[in-house]
């Protein structure tokens, strides 16, 4: 096994005062190998985006407090200064945001915006950069890039803008691409196009990808490994086949059950009762306990540790650990 590209250890993100902290990310640890595509899934408010943002120190501190270690290529990103980070942001790690409609500057042409990232991180001449921008636009499937390069974002639809955002993220051929729900704001046909395009790019560039989503279908199509998050905790971390074949955590099982299938006749969709608890309401024990169908007394007292269920499968559940399925 090669050395991981990104290794996160005991990442905690909390808001609020020192005496009454509200933890939105709790002791999150995982790693991403070079070239690997992992999916991070979970409901809204499960801490997926916060985890991603804190990798690049994009969480404003204060008010947030971020502790733990994030090793990328041997450096702890959380210890770096702002100026050291600018050479990693955009160059080594590309970031795609959820909102394509507003993540482009309305008063700059898309060519200039893609060029900005290239200009910052390379020494290419203006002409060479323009060639590179055109190449990137072609890579993300932009029809007629020669005319589109000098166009402003308001003249594009959401799908086209997201292509531009992806082009910006890919501008310097990053080793890791973090995509925070890149297709959530797009309609379904465009989602498929954008995902296919991202798969293509991945094959060409061999970047590692951390895909944040709440769409298990997207994960199944795109990723090799899945991390399931809930209320700031990682509940399960498994390769895609074993997760879909035999999910170990009751939460993952619930998520998979609530996916609509076209092959079986269903009257009502399965639903996990209740909703994600607001941060700070669950002080100890397993965060999923109030909604868990197989909860035990022990769950209220102690957070279950990660238990291994195979070479690439870990989950944190007392019930599963004791064989109560």
């Amino acid at each position: 096994m090669s050395k991981p590209l990104l290794e996160i250890r005991d990442l905690n993100v909390s808001f609020g005062t020192k005496d009454k902290p509200l933890c939105v990310v709790n002791d999150v640890s995982f790693s991403i190998n070079p070239g690997e595509a992992i999916g991070v899934v979970g409901e809204s408010g499960s801490g997926k985006s916060m985890t991603a943002l804190s990798i690049l120190q994009l969480v404003p501190t204060p008010p947030a407090r971020v502790t733990g270690q994030v090793y990328f290529d041997g450096k702890d990103l959380l210890q770096l200064s702002n100026s050291e980070l600018t050479s990693i942001r955009g160059k080594e790690i590309g970031f795609i945001f959820q909102e394509p409609m507003s993540s482009l500057n309305p008063v700059m042409t898309i060519g200039d915006q893609i060029d900005e990232a290239i200009m910052l991180h390379t020494d290419l001449s203006a002409d060479a950069r323009r060639v590179k921008v055109l190449e990137l636009l072609r890579l993300v499937g932009m029809p007629d890039p020669e005319t589109r390069i000098d166009v402003y974002p308001d003249q594009f639809s959401g799908g086209m803008r997201q292509r531009v955002v992806i082009a910006i993220a890919m501008a310097c051929n990053p080793k890791l691409l973090i995509a925070d729900e890149p297709t959530t704001a797009l309609d379904v046909t465009i989602q498929a196009q954008v995902l296919d395009m991202m798969l293509d790019i991945r094959k060409q560039y061999n970047s590692a990808i951390m895909l944040i989503t709440h769409d298990l279908g997207v994960v199944a199509e795109f990723c090799e490994r899945v991390i399931v998050m809930y209320a700031g905790h990682i509940l399960e971390d498994a390769d895609i086949n074993s997760l879909f074949a035999s999910p170990k955590h009751p939460y993952t099982q619930g998520l998979l059950k609530s996916v609509l299938t076209l092959t079986e006749k269903q009257h009502r969709l399965y639903q996990i009762q209740g909703s994600v608890p607001p941060p700070g309401t669950i002080k100890e024990g397993c965060p999923f306990r109030p909604r868990c169908p197989v909860r035990m007394d022990r769950c209220a007292v102690e957070m279950p540790p990660m238990k291994s269920y195979g070479p690439t499968h870990v989950a944190a559940c007392w019930a599963t650990a004791e064989g109560v399925e």
Binding site: L56, L58, N82, R89, F95, F97, N105, L120, G141, Q155
Partner: protein, 305 residues
């Protein structure tokens, strides 16, 4: 699903046609301004007046029939005639020529002080808005303090302390107008700072100064430009007021303000300097204000509909 993955195939082509149409229909800012200027009679008249004012100021030496400073003891307090369209003042100077040269004065102050005030105010406002915290509190309190004075009172205070040279008046007007720009720039920066494209730029590794210059300032410029046009009118008015009070442009240099001042002392001999000065200031300030309002309407998407 796979058939649309390839760029430039049939699917993207149809896409292409729709996008082309969208491109053609998109109105540019220039279109919007043009539409507003030519839609309203008041704006048309105001635009013509402002152009006449600027031409007069620029070509004053060619347009003025006499030297504005040359006195003539034989021709004092004349009423309008073909030789002197607006008559002469108590020193026999041609009022028309003095008015024409006075427009230069007004144009320079009307341009310079809003520009300087905008540069200073935007710098302060963006710094306060972007960095927040203690920097914001310091700058905002200073701005509040300046804001507490009526701008004219502030101008009179500073002018009285420094005296009435050209650069002093520019400094006075700049200081008087800076707080407004700072407030507007700060408020706009607070809004723009929250935009995802700023966060995206940070994530792309853009450094803070570049983010401010390339991503924040261009996006807050619309209200600043409107404010500049509105305060061009104000600074003409305030300069005239200062000159009228004797702490602005110093005689014998002509300024609309001190033409009225001189005329007031001599009101019972000839009324024309007061009338000419007062009317011109009113008309020019009104025209620039109307134009400024129109520009604001053009740039504001809500009134634009």
């Amino acid at each position: 699903m796979n058939e649309v993955a390839e760029p430039g195939n049939a699917g993207s082509q149809t896409d292409n046609i729709f996008e082309r149409e969208a491109l053609a229909d998109e109105p540019t800012i220039a279109d919007a301004i043009r539409a507003v200027i030519f839609d309203r009679l008041s704006t048309k008249i105001a635009a013509v007046l402002v152009v006449v004012f600027i031409i007069t100021a620029v070509f004053a030496p060619t347009l003025a029939p006499y030297d504005p400073l040359s006195q003539s003891i034989l021709n004092i307090n004349k009423h309008p005639s073909w030789e002197h369209w607006l008559g002469t003042d108590q020193f026999g100077r041609d009022v028309m020529s003095r008015m024409i040269y006075g427009s230069r004065n007004s144009l320079i102050f009307g341009l310079l002080s809003p520009i300087f005030a905008a540069i200073l105010g935007v710098t302060l406002g963006v710094t306060a808005g972007y960095f927040g915290g203690i920097v914001d509190r310091l700058i905002s309190r200073v701005v509040d303090m300046l804001m507490a004075f009526p701008e004219l009172l502030l101008a009179i205070l500073i002018a009285a302390a420094l005296g009435g040279s050209f650069w002093n008046i520019v400094v006075v007007l700049t200081i008087a107008f800076t707080p407004g720009f700072a407030r507007v720039a700060r408020a706009s920066t607070l809004a723009v700072k929250q935009e995802p494209y700023v966060e995206a730029a940070i994530a792309a590794g853009v450094s803070t100064p570049v983010i401010i210059i390339r991503h924040i300032i261009p996006n807050i410029l619309a209200p600043i430009v409107v404010l500049m046009t509105l305060w061009a009118a104000s600074s003409i008015r305030v300069e005239a007021t200062l000159s009228f009070l004797g702490i602005g442009t110093q005689p014998p240099n002509p300024s609309w303000g001190n033409i009225i001042r001189d005329g007031l002392a001599n009101m019972f001999a000839t009324q024309w300097p007061i009338l000419a000065g007062g009317l011109t200031i009113t008309v020019v300030v009104l025209a620039i204000s109307i134009l400024g309002d129109s520009v604001r309407d053009a740039l504001d998407p809500e009134t634009n509909q």
